[in-house]
């Protein structure tokens, strides 16, 4: 039996969607406004301020994030926070606030029926926050609880990732959780928050975006609401200094009660989406470890062939997953990036093998590169898959703004433009150039820190013992290479978990 099928070829159909976003993205006379009109009843609003945790004053680490929280979860000059909640509740709206390294992002989506309630209130929250003492205390306590309880004691994977960033950027503005540090948060006063807002939340520092059932009139409504913001900043965000690469294997073990071992590996890289090589590297990274897919070698070999853990992925830029979706949050703009591998918790007795296996996979990619066939398959995947990153209004808008911050088209459009012209040789050259570090940082969260230190320093073979049957001869042969994969110039420091993120 034959059946009528949709006629549009995949790539063309998907490209059409992106072109809608691109061609409709109109800029207002003010170049920092992005408008993406689409059909449908929803409207998305995004405000991206170029201020982030890197701008925390020394000794007040956490000020940028606390300021963002006070804006998004506090009252306004005319309304207490509970009154803000009362206004938002019937329209099921909220203003989400998120402070990252270099930006603070506020976003919300609402039905067009409710624009008249949402926009005046959301903009009042941003431009004229209440800064009430009770909100300050509540939100500062929440931030402290996040560091001292959630991160230290309730989520080993997040703990490992923040430990890696702390280690990668030691003594650098990036080198702490965006939430801050315990000592820094305790030192912050409400006046600090007011001052930070006045100096950094300015029209000059803002990229404003609207998508969906919005028009230039809606932009006007937003602009009117933001009028109280100063136009020009007293202080400018300064690009952070580059991080010097390390030599050898620099391991930080966070010691805490843990039944399994979480591992993060990384090193700084010198390129961002502003660089041409980034797009070549994106193909190689997808091949090695596309986030939460089964396409990467890391996932296929560590989880699929060996059953070591639940997942293994790699990244060429900071990656924060958006909720339950597989995709990264948009608008995590950074002027410096790092390469990383995320090895989800493995059984304690297999931790050193798992670390070696991840390093071996990276080494294999660098030394052997991708074959033409692997390159074609991955390029094809990434061309189509990247179109899914902009499925929702809010995400489309986020990518449009992000592109402008990197002085490029949005990432999906850049990939669509560049990938068809890439060659496997360019990709392999980019890998050799950027993914062959002089040293690596490793963060491990473990319950057997001292034993692990001994194993790593000794750098003896770490053979894997399977409690499952039928590991293939090929995999067993690889295991013999992996178990002796050199761990050179290993330095290990052990940090008790209660000291993490303290000061």
């Amino acid at each position: 039996m034959t059946t009528a099928l949709p006629r549009r070829p995949a790539a063309a159909a998907l490209l059409a969607m992106v072109l809608v976003a691109t061609t409709c993205a109109a800029e207002s006379p003010d170049a920092q406004v992005v408008l993406v009109p689409t059909s449908g009843p929803l409207v998305s609003l995004r405000l991206v301020f170029r201020v982030g945790s890197q701008d925390d004053p020394k000794g007040k680490e956490g000020l940028a994030a606390l300021t963002a929280a006070m804006v998004a979860q506090g009252g306004t000059k005319t309304l207490k926070y509970e009154q803000v909640l009362d206004r938002f509740f019937p329209i099921a709206a909220a203003l989400d606030g998120n402070c990252l390294k270099e930006v603070s992002v506020f976003s919300g989506s609402v039905h067009r029926d409710n624009l008249g309630v949402f926009i005046p209130l959301a903009t009042e929250m941003i431009a004229s926050p209440r800064f009430a003492t009770e909100d300050f205390e509540r939100l500062r306590d929440e931030a402290l609880d996040h560091l001292t309880k959630t991160l230290r004691g309730n989520n080993d994977e997040a703990l490992g990732k923040w430990t890696l960033q702390t280690s990668l950027y030691e003594g650098h503005p990036y080198g702490r959780p965006d939430t801050g540090l315990v000592a820094g948060l305790k030192a912050i006063t409400l006046d600090d928050v007011k001052d930070f807002h006045r100096r950094h939340y300015t029209r000059e520092a803002l990229w404003l975006g609207l998508a969906g059932a919005a028009d230039p009139g809606t932009v006007g409504l937003v602009e009117a609401g933001l009028t109280p913001l100063a136009r020009v900043s007293e202080v400018k965000s300064v690009a952070p200094p580059p991080v010097a690469p390390n030599a050898g294997l620099d391991v930080t073990i966070v010691a805490k009660p843990a039944d399994a071992t979480a591992i993060s590996i990384g090193f700084p890289i010198t390129l961002t989406r502003s660089d041409d090589d980034f797009y070549a590297l994106a193909v190689a990274n997808s091949f090695l470890g596309e986030h939460r897919t089964f396409n990467g070698r890391l996932m296929q070999d560590l989880r699929g062939q060996r059953g070591l853990n639940y997942g293994d992925y790699s990244y060429i830029e900071d990656f924060i997953q958006e909720g339950q979706s597989t995709f990264p949050i948009p608008n995590n703009h950074r002027s410096q990036q790092y390469f990383s591998i995320w090895v989800r918790p493995v059984p304690t007795d297999k931790a050193v093998f798992a670390l070696r296996a991840a390093l071996w996979e990276l080494d294999r990619l660098v030394e052997k590169g991708m074959t033409a066939e692997e390159f074609e398959a991955t390029r094809s995947f990434l061309l189509n898959y990247s179109k899914l990153w902009v499925q929702t209004l809010s995400r489309r808008l986020g990518y449009e703004i992000e592109g402008r911050l990197y002085d490029r088209k949005n990432l999906v459009a850049e990939l669509a433009d560049r990938l068809p012209r890439l060659t496997v040789d360019q990709v392999n050259a980019a890998v050799r150039k950027h993914l062959k570090p002089s040293g690596l940082k490793v963060a491990i969260v473990a319950g057997n820190a001292e034993e692990l230190r001994g194993l790593l320093i000794a750098a003896k073979p770490s053979p894997i013992v399977y409690d499952t049957q039928g590991t293939s001869a090929d995999v067993l042969a690889q295991d013999r290479e992996i178990e002796v994969f050199p761990l050179r110039d290993v330095k290990v420091r052990i940090v008790p978990v209660e000291q993490m993120f303290e000061k």
Binding site: A13, D259, R344, S380
Partner: protein
């Protein structure tokens, strides 16, 4: 191969907006639902709308950890979800993955207490390929014992990743304490001892597949730029000769709870003290008027604009979070109130004030305008969720999983609109008696 004659039992057109008595409001789902059923019982549901070039392709299997009646085999529905990616004769695991990779698919699966769901977001033009590869693995799954054992260890890894959060322990304790008989006694991922033992259950996995992965237990849901008749034709070709299984198991009924129960947990590291109060609540069918009433009550008594939230979280700041939830289930499950306190010493008072708020709700009617605000909130919150083909397919898929009816999602929102203050009083009086309560506390372990 014996060919079976296929006929289509129902090829309904667009469903009416909602039941006739709700005709004054459009249905919550702004798109038509079309549904058909193949002769072998396989459901075919489409929700066509303009999602340029994209569809979400869902296979809803009405089997979850609820179906795990055999002792020692908890967590198997979820484990089996993993095995479904291990390939067939025609498409090995690698070939299946390559096919998805070529499409640029976002593909994954999840399991809950009641259903298992295989989902992919793909170009609309890939519909035929999706039907072909999905039909193949649902009919011809093939894996050997080594692959089974490796995957069992990936599942243990999944347990391990979650086990650094006290919420897994809390969730396990609530289920284990509130249920004595029903399979909701264990969480979806299963008892840890059973997860560890999974490599030894290869033979049972064949029984499980044969029992549940049958057409009458499955529905294909496609949302976005899709033509219903085209999907139907493809489904007939690829799934049409899939034989019914007809097997089932008896899922034990949970007897009424007659006395309060409690459990106390500790955590080895500093954590916020947490209290969960759980009460037995009805299954998720919106035909039961208590279901929408409990959802509205959840907002009225514990939502961010409720007096209790305002007092405990915002004004007095004794609790960092306060929330209530009653996740939809096929069989009667739980209405759970969860509070994380700032200090251990606040916890007894927090518990008493939660109980008092529930008791008050039974005797004091909610103001009409407050109820209207809640109804508006529920409607707009759901509308805002429907921002992609994937979100639409998921909402409809859940409706099918819970009730067998895709349109139940519209019925639920119509029922919200009919609520009166008396409905909220009625359910408050009915479900929150002290004898129905399961209280679970979690605190940092004393290290003196």
């Amino acid at each position: 191969m014996k060919r079976r004659f296929l006929c289509l039992i129902a090829a309904a057109g667009c469903l009416p907006a909602a039941a006739a008595d709700d005709a004054d409001r459009p249905p919550i789902l702004p798109y038509p639902i079309r549904k058909s059923t193949l002769d072998n019982g396989l459901g075919i549901v489409t929700v066509p709308f303009d999602s340029p070039g994209i569809i979400a392709y869902y296979t809803v299997v009405r089997t979850g950890s609820r179906n795990e009646v055999e002792k020692g085999l908890s967590g198997f529905a979820h484990f089996f979800e993993h095995m479904m990616f291990r390939g067939t004769e025609k498409y090995s695991q690698e070939a299946y993955n390559d096919a998805l990779k070529a499409l640029g698919a976002d593909s994954n699966a999840f399991t809950t207490d009641d259903w298992t769901c295989y989902h992919m977001t793909i170009p609309a033009s890939a519909l035929a390929k999706a039907v072909e590869i999905e039909a193949d693995r649902f009919r011809n799954l093939k894996y050997d014992e080594p692959a089974f054992q490796k995957e069992a260890r990936a599942v243990l890894g999944e347990y391990n990743k979650s086990a650094s959060s006290p919420f897994l322990k809390l969730e396990e304790a609530i289920a284990d304490t509130a249920f004595t008989t029903h399979t909701y006694k264990h969480t979806t991922i299963g008892f840890l001892a059973d997860v560890k033992d999974m490599p030894n259950q290869y033979a049972y996995s064949k029984v499980f597949f044969d029992r549940w992965y049958r057409p009458e237990n499955c529905t294909i849901v496609v949302a976005g730029q899709v033509d219903h008749d085209a999907l139907l034709g493809l489904a007939k070709s690829h799934y049409g000769t899939w034989a019914r299984g007809g097997k089932t198991v008896d899922i034990p009924k949970e007897p009424a709870q007659a006395e309060p129960r409690k459990a106390a947990l500790t955590w080895p590291l500093p954590t916020l003290p947490t209290l969960a109060l759980a009460y037995h609540a009805p299954a998720a069918d919106p035909a039961d008027p208590d279901v929408p009433a409990l959802r509205a009550l959840q907002e009225a008594v514990f939502g961010e604009t409720s007096p209790l939230y305002r007092a405990l979280v915002l004004d007095e700041q004794k609790a960092e979070t306060l929330s209530a939830f009653a996740d939809p289930h096929r069989d009667p499950h739980l209405f759970t109130v969860l509070a994380r306190g700032r200090k251990v010493e606040f916890m007894p008072e927090i518990g008493e004030r939660i109980r008092k708020a529930l008791a008050d709700a039974a005797v004091m009617p909610i103001a009409e305008d407050r109820l209207k605000s809640i109804q508006s909130h529920l409607r707009y919150a759901f509308a805002a969720e429907l921002d992609s083909a994937d979100a639409v397919a998921r909402a409809v898929g859940e409706s099918i999983a819970m009730t067998g009816r895709p349109e139940a999602v519209n019925e639920l929102y119509a029922a919200y609109d009919r609520l009166t203050p008396a409905d909220l009083q009625r359910v408050a009086a009915r479900y929150f008696a002290a004898t129905h309560e399961t209280a679970v506390t979690l605190e940092t372990k004393e290290t003196k």
